[in-house]
Symmetry: C2
DNA sequence: CTGAAAGCGCTTACAG
DNA sequence: CTGAAAGCGCTTACAG
C-alpha cells in the first residue's frame, strides 16, 4: 500500500494525495475529504524513508537524551514535551546510551530527519567541540554550559554545579561536619563531575576543612550498585567520615544502603547529601537532603530559547539556572555535636 | 556528500561503492580498500532513508520497549543486547511510552526498517489481537503470554503472575497476616495486573482470608508518586491492614514512604511485598521482599527462540519462566503475633 | 486547484 | 569483479 494506491483508489494524482496527507493549503476541500477517507479506510501510513529522503525540512524538533535511565533527564523530557506540545511543536525523543556520541547522532539526524531544532539533554563538551560544526539548525544544551565553545547556533542552560557543590559543603560544615567524603565522577559527563568536585574543593579550602582528594574522593558511575561498591571503598580508606556528598540521588541511595549494611545509620551516624532532586529523593527512607535542579526552569528556558531562535535568527544565550538545596532527613550533626542550624526549610540559592 | 561523491573521488561506480559499504563479497580487495579509504577520509555516512527505502531486509533485530522508565525492562534490555551481540546480531532498541501502541509501531518498523525479527518487552494483548496480523517476521513477546492469540510468528515467555501473586499471599498468611491490601493495576498492561489480582484472590479464597476487592484493592500506575497517593487512599479505607502487596518494586517504595509518613514502620507495623526484583529492591531501606522475575532466563529464552525461528521456520512457543520469592527486610509477623517461618532464605518456585 | 515529471540517495538484478 | 540503469515511495517546483 503506497501513495500510488491511494491515488488510484481516490481518483486523484499522487501529487494531490501527498498534498492532502501533508495538510497543504492549495487543495480543494472535496479532494482532501475524498483522499483522507480512502486513507482512513485503507489504514494507510506513508513511508517515512521516502518522505524524509525527499523532504527538505521536517516540521518538528528533536530531543536527544544522553542516558536512558537518567531520572533527571526523564523528568526534563516530560516537561519539555508538555511545553513543546502546547507550543504546537511536533517532537521526537531520541534515547542514547550514556556513553554514546550525541553529536555524531545529531549530525545523522540532520542529514536524515532534518529537524528544525535540537535539544540536547546532557552532552560532552569535547564531542561538541570537535563534531558540532556541521550542525546548522538552532540547538540547546541542557545541564551543561556550552558558552566556552562559541558556536553561533548553540545555547545552553545549566545549574551552577560548582556553586551547588560548595553550598552542600557549607551546609555540612555548618552542621558541624569536618570529615566529608565525596562520591563523584561519572566519566560520561566528566565536566559536570569536575565542576562539582571543584566546588567541594574550594568550599573546603575556604572553610578550612581538610579535603584530601586521593582519600576522600571516590569516582562512581550513575547506578546504585556502583555507588554501593564505591562507598565501601571510601569507607575502607576513611572510616571516620561523618558525612558523604553523592553526585546524584541514585548514587546517594546506593551509598545509604552500603552505610546501613556496615552498621552506620543515616543521619544519626553519618549524613548523606544527594544531587538532582529527582522524584525518588522524596520517597527514600530517609528522605534525601539534596541539590534540586530546577527542572521546570531548565525546560522552559530551553524551549523558549529554541523556539525563539527557530523563528528569528537570534544569537545563542548561555544561562545559569538557580538551584535549591532541599532539606530532607539524611543530614544531622555529627554524633555528639550540637546542631547549630537544625531547621528544615529549603534554602534558596540564586546561583 | 553522497555515495556519488565517493564514487567520483574513488574512481569507481556507485554500485561498487555500495558493495564496499555493505561488505558485499563480490568485490576486489583493491576496490574495497580504495573506497573505504575515501569514505574514511571524507567521514562519509550513508543516508539511511535511501538505504532502507530500497533495501528489502535489514540485517538486525529490533527490541521494542513499552515503558521508557520501566526498570525491569531496562534490565532485560541490557541482557538482551549482550546476548544478541555475542550472537553477532545487530540490534536496535526502540523506546515507547507506556501507553503507546507497540503493535502499530512494529508495523511501521516492518514497513520502513524491515528487521529480521522483533522482541517486544511488554505488550497489550488486545493490540496484538487486532493489529499483529500484518507482521510476518518472527516475534517474541516478553513478560506476557501470547499463547491464546495463536499467531504463527509470535512466541512468548512470561512469569506466572497468578502463581507468584498467590505465593506472596501464602507467604504473608504463613507469617500470620489476614488483613492484606493490594496495590495493583497499571492499566497499560491490565492483563498482567489482572493475573496478579486473580492470584491474590484465589489464594485468599483457598486460605480462608477475607479479601474484599472494593476495599482492599487499589489501582495504581507505575510511579512512586501514584503509589504514595494510592496507599493513602487504601489506608483511609482500611486502616487496619497489616500487610500490603504492591504491583512493582517502584510502587512498593512509594507505598513504604506513605506508610512511614502516616506513622507506620515497615515491617514492624505493616509488611510490604514488591514485585519484579529489580536492582533497586536490593538497595531500599528496608530491603524489599519481592517476587524476582528471572531476567536472565527471560532474555535467554527470548533470544534463543527468536534466533532459532529467524534461521529456520519453526513454530512459536509459549513458556512460563520460574520466578523466585526473595526475602528482604520488609515482611514480618503482624504486631503481637508469633512469626512461624521467620527464616530468610529465598523460596524457589518452579512456576 | 491539479497533474506529469524530476529527483531525493541509495540497492540490486542484469549484463558484461 | 564492475558498471549502467531501474526503481524504492515519496515531495515539489513547474505548467496549466
Amino acid at each position: 500500500m503506497t501513495i500510488k494506491d491511494i491515488a488510484r483508489l481516490s481518483g486523484y494524482s499522487v501529487a494531490t494525495v501527498s498534498r492532502a496527507l501533508n495538510s497543504h493549503p492549495d487543495i480543494s476541500e472535496q479532494a482532501r475529504a475524498r483522499i483522507l477517507a480512502v486513507v482512513e479506510q485503507q489504514d494507510f501510513q506513508p513511508n517515512n524513508n521516502a518522505k524524509h529522503l525527499k523532504q527538505q525540512a521536517d516540521a518538528g524538533v528533536a530531543i536527544i537524551v544522553k542516558g536512558i535511565m537518567n531520572l533527571l533527564f526523564a523528568e526534563l523530557v516530560e516537561r519539555l514535551q508538555e511545553l513543546l506540545q502546547s507550543a504546537g511543536q511536533e517532537t521526537a525523543v531520541h534515547y542514547l546510551d550514556e556513553d554514546a556520541n550525541e553529536v555524531t547522532y545529531a549530525c545523522q539526524l540532520c542529514r536524515e530527519r532534518k529537524p528544525r531544532g535540537i535539544l540536547f539533554l546532557g552532552g560532552d563538551l569535547e564531542l561538541f567541540r570537535t563534531g558540532f560544526a556541521p550542525i546548522t539548525v538552532p540547538c540547546v544544551l541542557l545541564t551543561n554550559s556550552a558558552s566556552e565553545l562559541g558556536f553561533e547556533n548553540l545555547s545552553s542552560f545549566t545549574t551552577d554545579d560548582a556553586a551547588a557543590a560548595a553550598q552542600v559543603i557549607e551546609l555540612l560544615a555548618q552542621r558541624g561536619h569536618r570529615r566529608i567524603g565525596v562520591l563523584g565522577g561519572n566519566f560520561s559527563c566528566f565536566q559536570i563531575s569536575f565542576r562539582r568536585l571543584t566546588g567541594c574543593r574550594s568550599a573546603c579550602e575556604q572553610l578550612g576543612i581538610p579535603f584530601d582528594e586521593t582519600l576522600q574522593y571516590e569516582p562512581c558511575r550513575y547506578s546504585m550498585r556502583e555507588a554501593y561498591a564505591a562507598t565501601c571503598r571510601l569507607l575502607e580508606r576513611c572510616p571516620d567520615l561523618t558525612a558523604l556528598f553523592a553526585v546524584s540521588d541514585v548514587t546517594a541511595m546506593g551509598a545509604i544502603r552500603a552505610l546501613y549494611d556496615r552498621g552506620r545509620r543515616v543521619p544519626e551516624d553519618i549524613s548523606v547529601v544527594g544531587y538532582d532532586g529527582i522524584e525518588m529523593s522524596r520517597y527514600t527512607i530517609p528522605r534525601l537532603t539534596t541539590v534540586r535542579q530546577d527542572v521546570m526552569r531548565l525546560a522552559e528556558c530551553g524551549v523558549d530559547d529554541l523556539l525563539r531562535r527557530i523563528g528569528w535568527n537570534r544569537p545563542p544565550i548561555h544561562e545559569v539556572i538557580p538551584f535549591r538545596l532541599i532539606s530532607g532527613e539524611s543530614v544531622a550533626a555529627p554524633a555528639g555535636k550540637a546542631a547549630p542550624g537544625e531547621g528544615g526549610a529549603a534554602v534558596r540559592h540564586d546561583g
